[in-house]
Symmetry: C2
């Protein structure tokens, strides 16, 4: 099976390009299961219920989140109505939503796969949450017993924490991929224990902005140190992500390929 | 002309691979001018005088630094003896060393080029220094008048600050390239105004570690939150960087290409 994972969908341009191009990508790369990171999908900040429903009208199986998960406050009330939305597992209990979900997914050949999607937030240069390493440690064996594949969106800033987490899960998870920095890294590989890894899969949204935001606003911020209201950038749009090729017999990832597409406006 | 720029040279494995492979890379890619980032070259922390001399025995024209520039205290005394070493320009005055240098470089066809190499440190998730944007603003015109090319090593953590700085310098500098995260990004491009840009050029050193350090030490750090003495990772080594192709007539960068090589131990 082939799994498509798209990085941080940013605002309206991100949602629009998903709607326009996702079916085509799924067909072109013979994709069986699709995950997106949706924590920036509503104006760059969180995810409204309306936008969640809109995204789920596209062929998306799971939406992972990150530190902006509660930025649109309504999601606190509605997240439990969405099987597909996964928020960072390392938020303190009690907290609405869930940090992982095991999807029972039927392939084209009618066999089913149990796909566990996990979301975790990093701690370095990030809002304080429980330790992602110690959050994962006691449950990984249980997840492995109940799932054919475990895919972890590690939403984090520091390359050191992301790489360390990849090694930590090597041989235990099917894939560990980073989100949050909005810039795709070129370090995709299969680690020694068989886990597919990449530090960041990049973003889905405007290319000619500063990680989604109008560039003049951010340059002015940097020069004056005064906050400005963020406005989503316009122009050409990128779709960034990865494709995982999974061996259907042993459920191991045989290949990780970066997807980096630019569509002119 | 072709310019080779290599990312953070890490410890002994980084220095060793530079010595072994740099002449071959220079020949293979017909390189005229070479810059490396050397702030991690001595045990991952700063640069000793001895290691600086050792590196400069290889065909390296300039060494840029970053937040670890003073980690090996002897460099405070010796940096002014090295024309080739550039430390972040946004350290407060008075401070030894220099933040940029204009190299008069003779090409194979005997023409000379004035190549200005600048080093700046970011402010987001980094030790406090003067604003890199406001440090560069008053001198960029002077540098442009005195140089054929301006190459800026922007040593910074946050993708937002790096991208914003790239746009800030678009049309003013020949290239803005990021260092510091040790992971090469896949976003290299020529911006609308003609400046070559990439968020991070990656590192030169052990691949099977956490940005240079033994991975078990870092995983233990993350799990226990207790500091451990860092030890450089062993095994296969990567050389990461970029090649800039420059049009000799107008001195504009016509192409930016990522270099990502892995050498088995």
């Amino acid at each position: 099976m082939n799994i498509l994972i798209l990085g941080d969908v940013y605002g309206r341009p991100g949602r629009k390009i998903i709607k326009a191009k996702l079916p085509q990508l799924i067909s072109e790369y013979q994709i069986d299961f699709t995950i997106i990171n949706g924590e920036n999908a509503s104006g760059g900040n969180g995810l409204t219920t309306k936008n969640a429903k809109e995204l789920l009208n596209s062929p998306i199986d799971a939406i992972t989140m990150g530190n902006h998960v509660w930025q649109q406050k309504e999601l606190l009330e509605t997240i439990d109505h969405f099987d597909q939305i996964i928020r960072p597992l390392n938020y303190p209990e009690p907290c609405p939503g869930k940090g992982y979900h095991i999807f029972t997914h039927e392939l084209k050949n009618k066999t089913t796969k149990k796909i566990c999607v996990v979301n975790l937030s990093g701690q370095i240069f990030m809002p304080s949450l429980n330790c992602p390493f110690n959050t994962m440690l006691p449950i990984i064996d249980k997840l492995r017993m109940s799932s054919d594949l475990i895919l972890i969106d590690f939403h984090a800033e520091a390359t050191s924490e992301k790489i360390a987490f990849g090694y930590f899960m090597d041989g235990l998870a099917s894939a560990v991929y980073g989100t949050h920095t909005h810039v795709q890294t070129a370090d995709e590989r299969i680690l020694a224990g068989g886990t597919a890894y990449i530090t960041d899969i990049g973003m889905t949204g405007p290319i000619d902005g500063v990680i989604g935001v109008d560039k003049q606003i951010i340059i002015e911020n940097m020069l004056t140190k005064r906050p400005n209201r963020f406005v989503t950038a316009t122009g050409a749009v990128q779709i960034n992500g990865i494709i995982l090729e999974v061996n259907d017999l042993d459920n191991k990832v045989s290949k990780i390929t970066r997807l980096y597409k630019i569509y002119e406006d």
